[in-house]
């Protein structure tokens, strides 16, 4: 993931009011605290990044290789979610320290962020839901109410063109929403309010980068 960032959980949406009385739709995100597990540097790894963990889990719940990651650092807890954030500027690496946690105050003073999440999975869906196709007539003997319709021509080209939009698995897809406004940061509750909506269901992991 590009840039500095923090891992969070989508809580849900609500609205708050601005100074002039305007209602602002916000997504509430429980973000951090994240623990820095490793710093990757240009010299050693070929790129600059921080590897962070989020969402505590007791060590005994993890398997041996997973536990090793945390035990090596002398941590008495593990983390369910581990993610790497690519930090472009090596100077930015300095504010992080391996084994130390950081919280949402990281987003203090940040105006716009990108949010990465996985959309709600919709299973095997038809072409109407998945691609916005129109439906056929519902009466007068019609038998193509939600059908895809024609999928191609005849003897020429004698095949279905690649990429033809058809029913299939829909959702559970990684989506990045760019330039979401940070409305408010509440470090004491580990909450951050982002203007507008964020991909995924409530309770899903999301990644905030900037």
């Amino acid at each position: 993931m590009k840039g500095k960032g923090i891992i969070g959980i989508k809580v849900g949406m609500t609205r708050i009011f601005g100074d002039d009385g305007t209602a602002i739709p916000v997504t509430v995100v429980l973000a951090g605290p994240c623990v820095v597990l490793e710093k990757k540097t240009e010299d050693k790894h070929g790129y600059n990044a921080i590897k962070v963990g989020f969402d505590e889990v007791p060590l005994e719940k993890l398997n041996k290789p997973e536990r090793g990651i945390f035990e090596k650092l002398g941590l008495d807890k593990g983390y369910r979610k581990i993610v790497e954030f690519r930090v472009n500027d090596p100077k930015d690496l300095e504010q992080f320290e391996v084994g130390k946690a950081y919280d949402v105050s990281l987003l203090d003073g940040v105006e716009k962020v990108n949010v990465i999440g996985y959309t709600k999975g919709r299973g095997f869906s038809g072409a109407i839901k998945r691609h916005g196709f129109r439906r056929g007539p519902v009466s007068h003997g019609s038998k193509n109410i939600r059908d895809v319709g024609s999928i191609g021509m005849s003897t020429f080209p004698a095949k279905v063109i690649k990429g033809k939009r058809m029913p299939g698995r829909y959702g559970n897809e990684r989506v990045t929403v760019r330039n979401l406004e940070v409305v408010k940061v509440m470090p004491e509750d580990n909450l951050v309010l982002l203007k507008g909506s964020v991909p995924g269901a409530n309770g899903n992991y999301i990644y905030i980068t900037f």
Partner: protein, 123 residues
């Protein structure tokens, strides 16, 4: 991680909730003072009518519907965001006995049929 959505949203909304609100009930006749901005001028507008629905009380998402009926089968309905700073004041003038939370049936009533049994405002 398990999260308590209701609790976390409450923390977010706390500071935005009005604390001096009168108790509103469906069937109340209310006078709502609303701040209106026109260009750089501000003025107060008053809307008076019956509350025919209230939703999501005690959250910033809360709103209530006020229906004002005019002589001659005409009415205006306004939805007010309960906790909006633009809704300056809500006065409860009368209270009626009703047996529904949403009084959508009032939409089909005009004239004498609009009358409901009045009860005392106890709060």
């Amino acid at each position: 991680m398990r999260i308590n959505k209701g609790e976390l949203l409450k923390k977010v909304q706390e500071t935005y909730l009005k604390k001096d609100l009168p108790k509103l009930r469906p069937g109340d006749i209310v006078r709502v003072h609303q701040k209106i901005k026109e260009g750089d001028k501000e003025r107060e507008q008053i809307f008076e009518g019956m509350v025919i629905g209230i939703r999501k009380w005690n959250t910033t998402d809360a709103s209530f519907i006020v229906r004002k009926t005019y002589p001659g089968e005409m009415a205006v309905e306004k939805v007010f965001p309960l906790h909006s700073p633009l809704v300056l004041k809500i006065e409860v003038l009368k209270r009626h006995k009703v047996r529904r939370a949403k009084l959508y049936y009032m939409r089909e009533r005009y004239g004498k049929k609009l009358r409901l049994k009045e009860i005392e405002i106890k709060d």
